[in-house]
C-alpha cells in the first residue's frame, strides 16, 4: 500500500482526524472494534431515510426494496466468506450471539450427558461461556487444548482430546490477545477424521485475512460486523446446510415460522428459521457495504499492510528495555500484546490515553488465558489497515515517556 493510497483510505474514516485531549487520535484498539468508513455510515443513513420498512411479507414498495437490500446483503456475506449457498448465512447480533445459537441449537439436537466439547486455552469468553452453559445444562465436560510458550496451539495434545464423546470443537481462527493465527484447516481436518464438526470463531480473522469457509471445510464460521468496519449489532453465522437443517430453532417469534396454530407451529426454512423477530436489516445492508469496501481494497493487500505494521511495531517496541511481548507465534495477525518490566497494564493504558493513544488493557475477555500465563493482563495494540508506521513511531515515543514515568 503506497502513501497516497493510505492517505485516501484514512480520509474515508472521519474519526481518524479527531483530536483527543488536543492530541491527534491514534487508534490502536481495532481488536475491540474498528472505525467506520463514510460509505458505511452513509448506507445506514440512506437506509433510515429512504429504505425503511419492515422486510419480508410486505407487499408495498418500500418493504420490497428493504427486503431486497437485506437479502442482497446475505449474498454479499456468503460471497465474502466464499460460502456455497447464501441460505447458509444466518444474520446474528454478532459473534457472541452466533456462538450462543450454535451452542444452544446444536447442543439441543446432538449433545447429551457425558459428551464433551473442545475449545482452546486462548478463547475469548464468548467462545467459552456458551459452551460451559451447554455443559451445565446437559452434564457435559469442556476440554481445553493447551498452547506452547509462543502462544501456538499444541496440536498433539489436541489430537489426544478427541474421542467418541467429543461432539464439537470450537476454536478461534485468530487469538484476540496473542494474535496467533491458528491452523484451523488442520484443526478441522483432524476433527473430521473422527466426524466431529468444528466451529471457527472468526471475530479476529475475518477483518484481517482472506477466509474461505468451503476450503477450510468449517462446519460453522462466525464473525461480527463491527470488527470489520461495519455497524454494531450485526454479524453472521455461516453453517453447513446439513447441520443447520438438523438443528432446532434458537429463538421463536415472527419470521422464523411457516404456520402457527395454538396446537402446533411449523418452522420456516433456512435461513429464516434462525432469524426470529425483525432482522437488523439496516445493519445487514451497512455490513455488506463494509465488506464491499474492504474487498475494493483487497483482503490480500490489507493483510500485507497489516503484516508490515506488525513487523515494524514489534521491532520498534523491542527497543524498549524490559519489553515483553506476549504471543510470539510464527503465524501472527496484527495484534501486539505486551508488558514492560513490572508495570501494570492499567497504568500504561491510562497514561497513553492522556497522550491521545487508544490501546486496550486488561485480560481482553480471555481470563483463562491470562491466568495460564501468570500475568495481570496485557497492554494490547491492535492495528487496522488505516494505521501507519508514523503512528507506530508516535506510539513508541509516547510509550517510552510513559514507561520512564512509571519505572
Amino acid at each position: 500500500m503506497d502513501k497516497q493510497e493510505l492517505l485516501n483510505i484514512r480520509a474515508d474514516f472521519p474519526i481518524l482526524s479527531e483530536k483527543i485531549y488536543n492530541k491527534d487520535l491514534i487508534y490502536f484498539d481495532n481488536g475491540a472494534t474498528t472505525q467506520k468508513p463514510r460509505a458505511v455510515v452513509e448506507k445506514i443513513e440512506e437506509g433510515y431515510y429512504h429504505l425503511n420498512a419492515n422486510i419480508h411479507r410486505g407487499v408495498h414498495y418500500l418493504s420490497q426494496k428493504a427486503t431486497e437490500a437485506h437479502e442482497a446483503a446475505r449474498i454479499t456475506v456468503a460471497e465474502f466468506l466464499k460460502a456455497g449457498k447464501h441460505e447458509e448465512i444466518i444474520f446474528t447480533r454478532g459473534t457472541t450471539e452466533a456462538i450462543n445459537l450454535v451452542a444452544t441449537s446444536f447442543g439441543e439436537a446432538f449433545c447429551k450427558a457425558g459428551d464433551e466439547v473442545v475449545v482452546s486455552v486462548m478463547e475469548h469468553h464468548s467462545n467459552i461461556v456458551p459452551w460451559q452453559m451447554l455443559c451445565e445444562r446437559k452434564g457435559m465436560t469442556l476440554r481445553v487444548i493447551p498452547a506452547n510458550e509462543k502462544g501456538e496451539l499444541d496440536i498433539e495434545a489436541y489430537k489426544t482430546l478427541l474421542n467418541e464423546r467429543t461432539k464439537i470443537v470450537s476454536i478461534a481462527h485468530v487469538s484476540n490477545v496473542l494474535g496467533t493465527i491458528n491452523p484451523v484447516a488442520e484443526v478441522i481436518r483432524i476433527a473430521h477424521q473422527k466426524n466431529i464438526p468444528v466451529l471457527v470463531d472468526g471475530a479476529q480473522s475475518v477483518p484481517h485475512i482472506p477466509v474461505n469457509v468451503v476450503e477450510l471445510d468449517a462446519d460453522f464460521y462466525v464473525f461480527s460486523g463491527h470488527k470489520i468496519y461495519g455497524p454494531t449489532g450485526i454479524g453472521a453465522l455461516y453453517g453447513k446446510e446439513k447441520w443447520l437443517n438438523a438443528m432446532p430453532p434458537y429463538q421463536g417469534g415472527g419470521e422464523m415460522i411457516a404456520t402457527v396454530t395454538f396446537e402446533k407451529t411449523t418452522y420456516n426454512e433456512l435461513p429464516f428459521k434462525f432469524e426470529a423477530g425483525t432482522p437488523e436489516y439496516i445493519g445487514s445492508t451497512a455490513l455488506a457495504e463494509a465488506l464491499r469496501y474492504v474487498q475494493a481494497i483487497g483482503m490480500d493487500k490489507i493483510a500485507a499492510h497489516e503484516h508490515d505494521l506488525l513487523v515494524y511495531g514489534t521491532e520498534r517496541l523491542m527497543e524498549i528495555e524490559g519489553m515483553r511481548i506476549i504471543g510470539t507465534a510464527d503465524q501472527k495477525s496484527s495484534v501486539i500484546s505486551f508488558l514492560v518490566g513490572n508495570i501494570h497494564p492499567y497504568d500504561i493504558g491510562m497514561l497513553l490515553d492522556k497522550l491521545g493513544i487508544a490501546v486496550r488493557t486488561g485480560h481482553h475477555c480471555a481470563q483463562p488465558l491470562i491466568d495460564s500465563l501468570g500475568i495481570p493482563g496485557t497492554v494490547r495494540a491492535s492495528f487496522a489497515f488505516y494505521n501507519t508506521k508514523e503512528e507506530i513511531d508516535v506510539f513508541v515515543t509516547a510509550l517510552k515517556r510513559v514507561v520512564t514515568m512509571l519505572e
Binding site: 485531549y21 508495570i343 501494570h344 497494564p345 492499567y346 497504568d347 493504558g349 491510562m350 497514561l351 492522556k354 488493557t361 486488561g362 485480560h363 495481570p376 493482563g377 515517556r401 514515568m405 512509571l406
Partner: protein, 140 residues
C-alpha cells in the same frame, strides 16, 4: 485537620500543575510512597476485584477513629488509594459517613472513579464508608 481541610489541601497541591502528565507524575509518586500492605493484609477478605486492577483495603478501629490501609497492583490506582486514605483515615465513623468526597472531581480524577473503568476504586470508596458504618454500629 478535618476531612474537608484535607481535601482542600489536596486540591491546592494538584492545582499547581496545568499539565496532565505532571498531575499523573504526582499520583505515581503518591502511589509509590504509599506504605505497602504487607502480604498478611492482602487477604481474599480485603480484596476488591476490578476488571482492570485490584485493590486491597484494610480497616480497623482504634481509640474511636477508623484507620485505613490499602494497596493496588496498578500504581495510578494506588495513588488514588493513597489520597483516599490520607483524607479519611484517623477520623470518626460519623465524620467518614457524612463526608462528601469532592476532591476527586476537583483535581480532575473523576474518570478513575467512573464505574466503566472498573478498576476497583468505586467499590473501594463504598467499602471505606461501609467499614465506618460497621464500626459505628458495633460501638453503639
Amino acid at each position: 485537620m478535618t476531612i474537608n481541610e484535607l481535601q482542600d489541601g489536596i486540591i491546592e497541591e494538584f492545582s499547581m500543575f496545568d499539565d496532565w502528565m505532571d498531575k499523573y507524575a504526582l499520583l505515581i509518586d503518591l502511589g509509590n510512597s504509599l506504605e505497602s500492605l504487607e502480604d498478611a493484609g492482602k487477604t481474599p477478605q480485603n480484596i476488591i476485584e476490578g476488571c482492570q486492577s485490584r485493590v486491597w483495603l484494610h480497616a480497623e478501629m482504634k481509640d474511636g477513629l477508623v484507620l485505613y490501609r490499602g494497596e493496588s497492583d496498578a500504581v495510578l490506582v494506588k495513588g488514588i488509594v493513597s489520597l483516599l486514605i490520607q483524607v479519611l483515615t484517623k477520623h470518626t465513623p460519623d465524620e467518614i459517613i457524612n463526608t462528601e468526597l469532592y476532591f476527586i472531581d476537583k483535581i480532575g480524577l473523576r474518570e478513575h472513579l467512573s464505574p466503566t473503568r472498573s478498576n476497583g476504586l468505586v467499590a473501594m470508596v463504598k467499602q471505606m464508608k461501609m467499614y465506618a458504618l460497621a464500626f459505628k454500629a458495633k460501638n453503639s
